[in-house]
């Protein structure tokens, strides 16, 4: 599969392209990380994160590729691993019990909101994901969801977001999100 074909598939939301890139570049990326103090599990996690970054950028039309996809993934994985090594280094000199309290509280809130998200309909979940994660425009969202036009997509997205907001408000007060 050529790079052009991979990009085309990702733009259309086809996750098989991700699987292809994963299989093709796994050995190279994982060996890089393992040569730099990482385990295979850590390397796998970093490589998957790199692929998701690539997916987001291509889907959101925010990527101008000037090299081969493999080269790009390689550099993204390198950066992510470097950050992870820095974080480990910082953590080794700070609290060894784990994350800080605010961070833990924040993570807890996010997890609860994830539960609210799961209670939405499949269509709403997909619309919100395509808009907030894949960062599709309303035109592209309408095309992918099979809506009549961008206005229809905008209306449906608004309704789904309102529904989620209501669910979140039942769990948290606005003051729960103070700094």
């Amino acid at each position: 599969m050529t790079d052009e074909k991979v990009l085309e598939l990702i733009r259309s939301g086809n996750e098989k392209a991700l699987e292809f890139l994963y299989r093709k570049n796994y050995r190279m990326v994982v060996r890089l990380i393992m040569k730099n103090s990482g385990t295979e599990d850590e390397a796998k996690d970093v490589f998957q994160d790199a692929l998701i970054v690539f997916w987001e950028k291509v889907r959101g039309n925010k990527l101008v590729l000037t090299s081969k996809i493999s080269t790009y993934l390689f550099s993204v994985a390198q950066n992510l691993w470097r950050k992870e090594l820095d974080r480990k280094l910082r953590n080794s000199g700070e609290m060894k019990e784990g994350v800080t309290l605010p961070e833990w509280e924040r993570q807890e809130k996010v997890e609860l909101i994830q539960k609210c998200l799961k209670s939405l309909s499949e269509t709403c979940r997909k619309i919100l994901t395509l808009y907030y994660f894949d960062q599709l425009s309303m035109v592209d969202l309408a095309k992918e969801m099979g809506f009549a036009n961008a206005d229809t997509a905008k209306t449906k997205k608004y309704k789904c977001k309102n529904e989620l907001d209501k669910l979140v408000k039942t769990i948290y007060k606005p003051t729960d999100f103070q700094d």
Binding site: E15, R27, W55
Partner: protein
């Protein structure tokens, strides 16, 4: 307001717009909280999607040996597979060949065994004088019939082969062997295939038809091979010195008669009260043709009666 919050969080604002919005957040606690809640919602949506994508990737089979090495391993595995398949095919072919050779050898052995039986019974029929020989004949025939029950449906011998050198010489005394018994014994062991001239005893009843005993061509007495399960139902051919009969002789006996006619040997098949001429020059599968010549039929019939 929601649109501005989203624009801010999706980094769709210009630098100027962003700085102005951040100032408002600083001043407006409610706006600040709402921005944080929306940020948490967006992060939750993102996490959910990342989780789904990662789960998909976790299910993809990968290994450190993937890539070119895996391809090389695949190629090697395929090559080994092809090699094994070729070896297996070669061995199978060899096995088939050896089976064919051994089956051919077995056929030859059976033919030889049949030949011995036929020769034995045939030689007995040459002589008319010995009751012992007739008894031997009776003993031999069951053997031949037992052969029918053998494993090979194609090779059967249900009849007897008789060869008679019908000597016709109206005026001459028939040739007599000095020691008939000795002749009979030798006949049992070495039938007409050896080329010995076995003659019937003179019989005045034999019609005079000009057959002469002056010339004695070599006997045509062939080995007989019966093939029952062929599409040809009543045919024959000569192959490799053998007479191959394509017919089912399981119910009635047959005889192959050898006639010395005008200095030439002629073979006839006697079956079911009829006679069929056998041309020893025929190598292709040919239908058996009934003898229509009444004189010849009479000669052959008389010979059979004399036995």
């Amino acid at each position: 307001m929601q649109q501005q919050i989203e624009a801010y969080l999706r980094q769709e604002m210009t630098d100027l717009e962003r700085s102005g919005f951040e100032r408002r957040m600083h001043d407006d606690e409610e706006l600040h909280e709402e921005v944080h809640r929306q940020e948490a919602i967006m992060e939750a949506i993102r996490r959910e999607r990342v989780l789904a994508l990662k789960t998909g990737l976790q299910n993809v089979p990968v290994s450190l040996w993937s890539g070119t090495l895996m391809e090389a391993a695949k190629i090697a595995a395929v090559s080994v597979g092809i090699g094994l398949a070729s070896a297996g095919g070669y061995l199978y072919f060899q096995h088939q060949q050896s089976e064919k050779v051994s089956s051919d050898a077995e056929v030859k052995k059976e033919i030889q065994a049949e030949g011995k039986v036929n020769r034995t019974s045939g030689s007995v029929l040459f002589s008319e004088n010995s009751k012992q020989e007739k008894q031997t004949t009776e003993k031999q025939l069951p053997l031949a019939q037992d052969d029918e029950k053998g494993p090979d449906p194609e090779i059967r011998s249900s009849g007897s082969v008789a060869s008679a050198n019908l000597s016709r010489n109206p005026g001459a005394a028939p040739e007599r062997k000095e020691n008939p018994k000795a002749m009979q014994e030798s006949d049992l062991q070495e039938p007409a295939l050896q080329g010995s001239q076995l003659q019937t005893s003179g019989d005045p009843a034999l019609p005079e038809d000009g057959f002469s005993n002056s010339t004695k061509p070599e006997s045509l007495q062939p080995e007989v091979l019966i093939k029952r399960d062929n599409k040809e139902k009543f045919h024959y051919q000569f192959a490799d010195g053998k007479l191959v009969l394509y017919a089912d002789f399981s119910n009635k006996l047959y005889e192959v008669l050898e006639l010395n006619q005008y200095g030439e040997r002629q073979l006839y098949l006697a079956y079911d009260g009829k006679f069929f001429a056998l041309d020893s020059r025929i190598s292709e599968i040919t239908p058996l043709r009934e003898v229509k010549d009444k004189n010849l039929i009479q000669i052959l019939t008389d010979y059979q009666k004399r036995k």
